[in-house]
Amino acid sequence: MLSVHVREKHFADRGGKRHVALRDLRLSAADGEFVCLVGPSGCGKSTLLNIIGGLDASADASVGLDAGAPAASVGFMFQEPRLMPWLTVMENVCLVCAERPEAAALAGQLLEAMELGEVVDAFPGTLSGGMQRRVALARAFVIEPRLLLMDEPFVSLDAPTAGRLRSMLITLWQRRRATVLFVTHDLREALALADRVCFLSSSPGRIVLEHRIELPRPRDPQSAEIGTMYEELLSRHPGLLAGLGGDAQDAA
């Protein structure tokens, strides 16, 4: 069970004055739940992930992941692959896990499952963007995370490549049952992936609407069901994606 409460996070200086990015934001996720965070750009989605991932110590926030869970069991996938260019694919994946033979074996399995078996000894610079994301995905799963934080990880990929990565992610998640927080600005992507979608307001960001999805997986973002759900949400809450969400809050 993940529970997050951000009382306030501000940036000291944006155009000379204090900018409050997040205020009084509460979020929780059950074990193994797949939660998508959707909001307009600049609403503090990435900031929120950084706080949860322990990359931002300056926020007034409390983050609770199971008492028993070791700190090392949080995986993080960024907007860019962020692989170490001087390490091979295999070394990049093994970089983040403990030096145990089981970990190396798991790294090999994950890379194999992601159709990267051929390139384990290649350097990231020689791989395509899609392949680099797959390596980053393997790196996130190799630590067998309790919690997986994903910050628009499939942005700027062409549609088929992104679709393939999404289905790989869902397969891995179904097998390993990590709790996932997935940030995106693409509502169709969120509806195709999540158990629950949380909508953030524009800054200071709060959660203004939650929407649960019961459709069976795998789901195609372009399918009729997702399309219907998309239209319905937007007609019921106009301005939702712009983060205005005044009426959405009432509905919630």
Binding site: G53, G54, L55, A71, A72, V74, G75, F76, F78, E80, R82, M84, P85, W86, L87, L95, V96, F123, G125, T126, I143, L149
Partner: protein, 273 residues
């Protein structure tokens, strides 16, 4: 400060066989060109000696004969060994201390501002002044000599490494933090590789500076080493001796560059295609 990329291309080309221009490059031709350059050099030297007809311009054959004699008497190996030892110790000390200070200054702006004045001072003190002061304060001994050389080199290492430390990619450091990497692994596999180009630029420039300063240090206050020998030959106007020692010393420098520095750099840079 020169960028490391420039520094490495500027010093390449002595013994290296880094292919440029793609299709026309063949290793056999490269070696041939280098040999031709050596032969032309020797011929020019011979020509100058023949034309000058002066005992202060000995012929190549005389100098090479002298090298043979100095090696046979073990004088040259002994002095060369002493000098190389001093070079190795002061180089290692300067790189370690300079890199540590450079990393710290790149990391903490307050420290950077605090030490910046000292750094400018260090960069601008003439090598001779450091050497004289070290000998006066610490006596005419090996440690004073090594300290003097290291002190001359440290500021330039600091400047180069500091620049690298400022250019560290925060996004990669975030990966290390997000995955809670242990400090040693974070430093060795995420941080330090980003500094390699800068460390190599510092090492290259450092070695070429240290070779030269060590000789001055030896000339001024030691009774062994290449610099000491050169001073003796100078007293006797023994030009063949000076050239013999100089040639061997230069050859050793080239060998270190070709057999140690360049293979190491190639290995660490193999991910850059």
């Amino acid at each position: 400060m020169s960028r490391p990329a420039n520094a490495s291309t500027a010093t390449a080309g002595v013994l290296g066989s880094r292919g440029k221009g793609g299709a026309s490059w063949r290793p056999g031709r490269d070696v041939l060109l280098r040999l031709a350059s050596l032969v032309v050099f020797l011929l020019l030297w011979q020509l100058v000696a023949v034309v000058a007809q002066d005992p202060t311009v000995p012929m190549p054959a005389v100098v090479f004969e002298r090298i043979g004699a100095e090696v046979a008497s073990m004088a040259l190996p002994h002095h060369l060994g002493v000098t190389l030892f001093r070079v190795a110790i002061s180089f290692a000390a300067a790189m370690l201390i300079g890199a540590a200070i450079g990393i710290a200054m790149g990391r903490w702006p307050a420290l950077d501002r605090f030490l910046d004045g000292w750094l400018v001072l260090g960069l601008n003190i003439p090598a001779l002044v450091t050497i004289i002061l070290c000998y006066i304060w610490f006596g005419l001994n090996d440690w004073a000599a090594i300290l003097a050389v290291a002190l001359n080199k440290i500021p330039t290492v600091v400047v180069t490494v500091r620049e690298g430390a400022r250019a560290i990619d925060p996004r990669l450091m975030e990966v290390a933090r997000a995955y809670r990497l242990p400090p040693a692994r974070k430093f060795l596999q995420v941080y330090l590789p980003q500094l390699y180009p800068y460390l190599f630029a510092a090492a290259r420039a450092g070695l070429s500076l240290i070779w030269k300063i060590v000789l001055v240090v030896e000339l001024l206050g030691r009774s062994e080493g290449i610099g000491f020998q050169l001073n003796v030959f100078f007293q006797f106007f023994d030009i063949a001796g000076i050239l013999a020692y100089t040639l061997v010393f230069a050859a050793v420098v080239l060998l270190v560059e070709a057999l140690v520095m360049r293979p190491m750099e190639r290995r660490l840079n193999r991910w850059r295609q």
